[in-house]
Symmetry: C2
Subunit: 160 residues, 2 copies
DNA sequence: TCATTGCGGACACATAGCATCCGATTTAAA
DNA sequence: TTTAAATCGGATGCTATGTGTCCGCAATGA
C-alpha cells in the first residue's frame, strides 16, 4: 500500500491557499510554481479538490482557486479523500465463500478480517480528521523566520 | 490507496493454519485449494509470511507451513506488514523545500503534513495490532454450525 | 473581441500488483 | 538408493493504477 504523491501536493496546495485573502483566487499555475510542481498535473488534483468541495474554482481571466471553508474546517482526511477517492482501502473479496468447505447456506456479509481492517481505517480517518489545514499552516509558519514570511507574502501579492 | 488482495489471502491462510495440530504442516497447494485461490501466487505470499517470521516453512515431502507463534500472538498488523512490506505508506517528498520562496537555510526534516499522516498510520497500526489471528478464528467459528466445523476438520485431516 | 483560466477527455509512460512457470534444493517415504 | 513431494528463488508476462502532458471547449474579466 502506498499513498499517492498527489495527496501531498494537494495538502501543500491547501496550506498555500489558506494564505489568500478573502475574495482572491490563486491560479493552478501559481500554485504549481510555488512548490515547483508540473502545472498540468497539479491542475488535475485541484479539479479533484474542487469536485470534492474542499476548494472552489473561479473560471475565466483572473480566476483560480480558493478554499471552500475556513482552514480550521478542512482536515487532512478531507484532502486525502478528495484525491484518493472515498471508499475503504481494504476490499473483502469474500474468499471464505469459496472452496471445498463452504457451507450450503453461507452467511453472507464481510468476514471478521474485513471488519478488523475497516475498524483500523476508522482509526486512521479519525486521526487525520483531527488535523486541519489551519494546524498545518501554524506549524509551517513556526519553521519560518520573519524574513521568510515576508518573502512568501510578497510572492503571494505578485501572484494574485 | 488500495490494500493489495494478497493481504486478505495471507490473513485467511493464517486463520486456516491456526487449525493445524502441533508438529503438522499444510502445503501451499492445500492452503490455496481451501479458498479456491491460485496455488503459485498463494505460495509467493506464504514465502513472504515465512520471511517475515509469521509462519515457518517445512521443506521436502510432507512439508508445508505452520504458524511460527500461537495464533493469539500473531496480529493482523504482522500479516499486513509481511505482505506489503515495512515502512510508512506516506512518503514525504519535501516539496516545501522547492520553489521560489524556500529559505536559504531550510530547516530539513519532514513537514507537519508528513507528521500528521505518520501519526494516523500509528493509529492504524495500533488498531490492527490489537486484532489477532485467534480473534479471527473465534469469530469465524461462531459463524459456522457444528456440521460446518466437522466438515472443515475432515478436510484438514485429509490434507495433512 | 480577446486573453486568461478552469474543465474534461484522450493519450503515453512508469510502476506496482497479479499470476504463472521453471530449475534447484531439501526431505520423507517407497 | 531412488523417487516423489514440497519449498525457494528468479524470470517472465499481463493488468491496473498513478504520473504527466496535451488539446479543445467553456467561462469570464479586461
Amino acid at each position: 500500500m502506498k499513498i499517492s504523491e498527489g495527496v501531498e501536493w494537494a495538502a501543500h496546495a491547501c496550506a498555500l491557499l489558506a494564505a489568500v485573502p478573502e475574495g482572491g483566487a490563486l491560479s493552478a499555475g501559481a500554485i504549481a510554481a510555488f512548490n515547483d510542481l508540473p502545472k498540468a498535473y497539479m491542475a488535475k488534483h485541484l479539479q479533484a479538490l474542487a469536485k470534492a468541495g474542499v476548494v472552489v474554482s473561479v473560471r475565466g481571466a483572473q480566476g483560480g482557486y480558493r478554499l471552500a471553508r475556513p482552514p480550521a474546517e478542512i482536515s487532512l482526511w478531507d484532502v486525502r479523500r478528495a484525491i484518493e477517492g472515498p471508499g475503504p482501502d481494504f476490499h473483502c473479496a469474500n474468499i471464505r465463500l469459496k472452496g471445498p468447505c463452504v457451507a450450503p447456506k453461507p452467511s453472507s456479509g464481510p468476514c471478521a478480517i474485513a471488519h478488523a481492517f475497516w475498524e483500523a481505517e476508522r482509526a486512521y480517518q479519525a486521526a487525520l480528521g483531527s488535523m486541519t489545514i489551519a494546524d498545518v499552516v501554524v506549524q509551517a509558519a513556526r519553521e519560518q523566520d520573519a524574513e521568510g514570511l515576508s518573502r512568501i507574502a510578497a510572492w503571494l501579492r505578485a501572484a494574485l
